[in-house]
């Protein structure tokens, strides 16, 4: 009875919690500003942002590789500054810029890391290695970027950590392996573990994560479920009219924004949810051509940031 209460108390602490976390370099470069983030246990949390937005800074603060200028963070209920060793025992980490020793083979390197950890589930290590097709018997310097990444992934998962922190995990992997990594992440979450997945690729995150946090210029812009994010997923629409059309008519539709207007050509950005209304409005006019395609990530980011700026 008491044990059960204890369990509940332990699992009630979030996997990641940051409060007012700030990192400023040299007194002026604000790499991370006032991050309040809570990642629950059992979820895959996507941390999305363009390069240089502060994703890796956040992760390095969580792992106590760098120290916060202000604020605090805890992993699995353990303070990163004072209980970092205990916290990192239960965390697996894949750096975004993975550098491995040259001379060791994959097996030697993983063996050394396992001894460094003190406890590793060897069956799990072999299983993950096999699933990713990691090459273990060749010196690491002879491996391609993708094959080095596999070694990095194996060491992040091999001790069955309660929290896995992955910084751009599928960089350099082919689509088949990206799928395998996604499966690994989902399995961790299904078993009650937590995955913190940092990525600049919306595509990678939206197929894996339950919730997504979007960061830009060191500030968390938005946190939403993937379903919520998808409902905002943008289409880039180009319409050629037989006769010129006043732009006001399209801007009136919720979420639609006119990007460019020429004599008879209009470029629009519209969320999927607005497409129906847009097409019906367009249909009132004589159309020569209509192209609708997914907006690229940059446009989605920009649109999200525009909203955030408007709200703030």
């Amino acid at each position: 009875m008491e044990a059960r209460q204890y369990d509940r108390a332990v699992t009630a602490t979030p996997a990641i919690e940051t409060v007012g976390l700030c990192k400023t370099y040299g007194g002026k470069v604000r790499a991370l500003v006032d991050l309040d983030l809570r990642v629950e246990r059992g979820e895959v949390f996507g941390y999305l942002g363009p390069n240089g937005a502060g994703k890796s800074t956040t992760i390095r603060l969580l792992l106590d590789l760098i120290h916060p200028t202000e604020g605090r963070a805890a992993l699995l209920g353990l303070e990163t500054r004072s209980q970092g060793v205990e916290a990192r025992r239960r965390v697996g980490y894949l750096p975004g810029d993975l550098r491995l020793p040259d001379r060791l083979t994959g097996a030697e390197f993983l063996g050394s890391l396992a001894r460094l950890r003190g406890h590793v589930d060897e069956a799990r290590r072999d299983e993950v290695s096999a699933r990713l097709g990691a090459i273990l018997d060749r010196p690491l310097r002879h491996l391609s970027k993708g094959n080095r990444q596999k070694i990095g992934l194996v060491q992040a998962f091999m001790h069955r950590p309660e929290l896995v922190v992955l910084d751009e995990p599928t960089a350099g992997l082919d689509p088949l392996l990206q799928g395998e990594v996604r499966a690994l992440m989902r399995e961790v979450a299904a078993e009650g573990g937590t995955v913190f997945l940092s990525s600049h690729s919306l595509d990678e995150v939206q197929h894996t994560a339950d919730r997504v946090g979007i960061i830009r210029s060191g500030r968390l812009v938005d946190v939403d479920s993937v379903a919520g994010l998808r409902s905002r997923s943008l289409r880039r629409v180009r319409v050629a009219f037989a006769n010129g059309v006043p732009r006001e008519r399209f801007d009136r539709i919720e979420g639609v924004r006119v990007v460019e207007e020429q004599a008879s050509l209009v470029r629009l950005l519209a969320p999927e949810t607005a497409m129906d209304g847009l097409v019906k409005t367009l249909a009132e006019h004589t159309i020569v051509d209509l192209v609708s395609e997914p907006a690229d990530l940059e446009e989605i980011f920009l649109e999200l940031y525009r909203e955030a700026d408007g709200a703030g």
Binding site: R88, R99, L116, R117
Partner: protein, 267 residues
């Protein structure tokens, strides 16, 4: 566990250590093999006597010392310059490479994300460095021990042991200084420059303080002076050697604590 860090470091550098052992042993054997021809040339002493004072002072040619005696010859040819130089190169190179070099190469990020205290990782790397110095020193010591009866150096066993302890402690101090500087600041260049500069200054102060009186007060901060210059003729200064050892511990501990306080430098 941090022990793995030390053991792993030694495992990774086993080929390098073996090469250093072979090199030092070969050099020691070569120098010792020259001795019979020096021993039978008393004019060698006269030649050395005519050396400029500066050179005599730097090479530890002591007043009343006999360079044609076995201990005098080994002191001048090995312990006054070459052997400390070799071991210092090994120690400073490794001390700078193992932490600052790893950080420069971006390989420290993954390691420090493991459940290790940073200070423990510095101590583990310090232990690996000490072990390397010990192994290479033993290789030189054993070579002299074996070759002595063959060439008739007639070295005192106690002094021979003390001489290698002295050189090893000198190397340890400068190696741990390299490690400590690399822990305190993320710069491999500084981790080499600071101990190399300290070694050069310490060596010159020890060698020249007799000639340049204004240097004399500084001799107390020269590890070379503290350990003593003619170990096979006069033994080493036990108290001074302990002071150097204590200083080595201080610089390593200081570096370890400073590493805990700073941000890891990432590529």
């Amino acid at each position: 566990m941090p022990v793995e860090l030390a053991v792993g470091a030694l495992r990774d550098s086993r080929r390098g250590i073996a090469a250093w052992c072979v090199g030092v042993a070969a050099y020691v054997a070569m120098v010792a093999a020259i001795y019979p021809s020096v021993e039978t040339s008393p004019e060698f002493n006269e030649l050395v006597e005519r050396y400029p004072e500066v050179l005599k002072s730097l090479f530890g040619i002591v007043e009343g010392g006999d360079i044609t005696s076995g201990p005098g010859f080994v002191d001048v040819e090995l312990f006054s310059f070459m052997l400390p130089l070799l071991l210092l190169v090994l120690a400073i190179g490794y001390g700078a490479r193992t932490l600052a070099g790893e950080e420069d190469a971006g390989r420290l990020e993954l390691l420090l994300a493991y459940p290790l205290r940073r200070r423990a990782s510095v101590v583990a790397k310090g232990a690996a460095l000490a072990a390397q110095i010990a192994v290479v020193s033993v290789a030189g010591w054993a070579t002299l021990l074996v070759i002595d009866p063959l060439v008739g150096l007639a070295l005192d066993f106690g002094n021979l042991c003390a001489a290698f302890v002295g050189v090893a402690v000198l190397a340890l101090f400068h190696g741990w200084l390299a490690l400590g500087v690399g822990a305190a600041v993320p710069s491999r260049a500084l981790a080499i420059a600071v101990p190399a500069g300290a070694a050069a200054l310490g060596y010159l102060v020890n060698g020249l303080h007799d000639l340049a009186g204004w240097l004399a007060p500084f001799r107390f901060v020269s590890p070379f002076w503290l350990v003593g210059s003619s170990p096979l003729q006069t033994g080493i200064d036990a108290a001074g050697t302990l002071v150097v050892l204590a200083a080595a511990v201080v610089v390593l501990a200081g570096g370890a604590l400073l590493l805990e306080r700073r941000d890891l430098q990432t590529p």
